[in-house]
């Protein structure tokens, strides 16, 4: 196996891992808020969270490209203030992936929280426990299957994304070239063997991930209530 292949695969999983970890920290408060709120803004917020599900990735990538471009106000400000260039860089890919995979993290967590009866939360409050204690000791342990599902689906989805990455990351080996881009690239240059190597790897890994989720979730549900 050549080093570029390994480098690309490593980059792909590094991107997915970082994206998943950051999204977990965003998804838990956001999913909790959405499951509890009775605000009139809830439908609007839910629509925004779900947008990446229906929007062509290229649309999202296009606007992110415009926003992050150093030629425009926001991108220029980032460049000047933080020395941060989000176009054609790994940091930009992470940010784009976070936005693009947001619904995959938030939805399972939100429905996990919604499925818990409100009496668990209320019982904990009455026993004198704060909101944070209740979230950490009572609610989160009871939605572990949802957390696992959310994390793994987010990870897998980030591994598989193409449009956004292509628009905003481009194809810089070791920096923004991820596996799905590499497949396209190799096919373009009629390098079918290498394309197949990438494709088969993704195929096998995706299957293994899903198999893991279903197997673990099943045994977790069982041991949870033993």
């Amino acid at each position: 196996m050549d080093t570029e292949f390994l480098q690309t695969m490593a980059l792909t999983f590094k991107l997915a891992f970082i994206t998943t970890v950051i999204l977990l920290f965003i998804g838990i408060p956001l999913g909790y808020f959405l499951s509890q709120t009775r605000s009139r803004l809830k439908p609007a917020l839910e629509a925004i969270v779900s947008m990446p599900l229906v929007l062509p990735p290229s649309v999202l990538g296009f606007y992110l490209l415009l926003a992050f471009s150093p030629k425009n106000g926001f991108g220029a400000w980032l460049d000047e203030s933080f020395d941060l260039r989000l176009v054609f860089s790994f940091e930009g890919l992470v940010l784009a992936s976070i936005i693009f995979s947001l619904p995959f993290m938030v939805h399972p967590i939100q429905s996990g929280f919604s499925a818990l009866g409100k009496s668990l939360k209320e019982a904990s409050y009455i026993l004198g426990k704060s909101r944070l204690q209740t979230l950490w000791f009572v609610l989160l342990p009871n939605i572990r299957p949802s957390l696992l599902t959310a994390s793994v689906i987010t990870f897998a989805h980030t591994v598989g994304e193409f449009g956004v990455v292509l628009m905003i990351g481009g194809n810089i080996a070791g920096e923004t070239k991820v596996a799905s881009i590499a497949i396209y690239d190799e096919v373009e240059s009629l390098n079918y063997d290498l394309a197949n190597q990438y494709a088969l790897s993704l195929f096998v890994i995706s299957f293994a991930i899903l198999l893991f989720v279903y197997a673990v979730n099943k045994s977790m549900l069982r041991s949870e209530f033993r």
């Binding site: 019982a123 904990s124 409050y125 009455i126 026993l127 004198g128 342990p141």
Partner: protein, 290 residues
Amino acid sequence: MMQINISKPLHTADGTIDLHVNKEIQKGDFLTLFGKSGSGKTTLLRIIAGLETPKSGTIVVDGEVWFDSSKKINLPPQKRNVGFVFQDYALFPHMSVRQNLEFALPNKKESKKIDEILEIMEIENLSDMKPEHLSGGQKQRVAVARTLMTNPKMLLLDEPLSALDGAMRLKLQDELHTIHQKFGITSILVTHDISEVFRLSNRVFKISLGEVIDDASPSEVFANQNISGKFKIVGEVLSIKKSDILYIVEVLAHNEIVKVTAVKSDIANLNIGDRILLSSKAFNPILTKI
């Protein structure tokens, strides 16, 4: 002692009603809130616990203001120190019985108290079980045990026995009674079961459409309608058959089919499916222990 004077609009199946309660509850009372579903009794209990906020009014317990709409005071449930037993018991499913009690304990150093309460409630043997594997009666006991861990000022019970069968119900009624006696803890129980009212409470609020329409001891409240010299049961007409010069009416009353003889004038207005009142004035029904 609790003074409560609150009002809150409730949206029920019968339209919007106004829950309005202005009462005093004495220390050590066992009060039942009795009424049909949708009358506002559970909401009243939740308001006392701080789980729902009244539109206006005050709640003062032992001189401490829990709620005052004019001063914008609303103590959160965490600060009210009440015990609440939910209809579904709300035991934490991922914790064992002991862990449920331990979680409730405000001071982790007092772990001796867990064993004490486990023993009093006779659930030591369930200590390591997860709630999933407990029966309804056991869950109810664990739920009560858990509320006792915080030494609550008041025990609020939201129909905790409604999901249990007859024998278990009676047993747990006795247990609630014992706990009330033992800890002297002011208790408020929501129920729509008259026998529960009689067995447990010394005072009952009869609530209808958000208003407390009766406030007295159980025997006073139910004196007029249920304990009277006359014998009467509500039933439904199943069939009307002619037999010689009489008619035989079959009536379904409390899952029993009763045959009643009638004359022509009695059945003139009766149709199958009508709801009727079966009553007897002159004859005393016979009591037989079963």
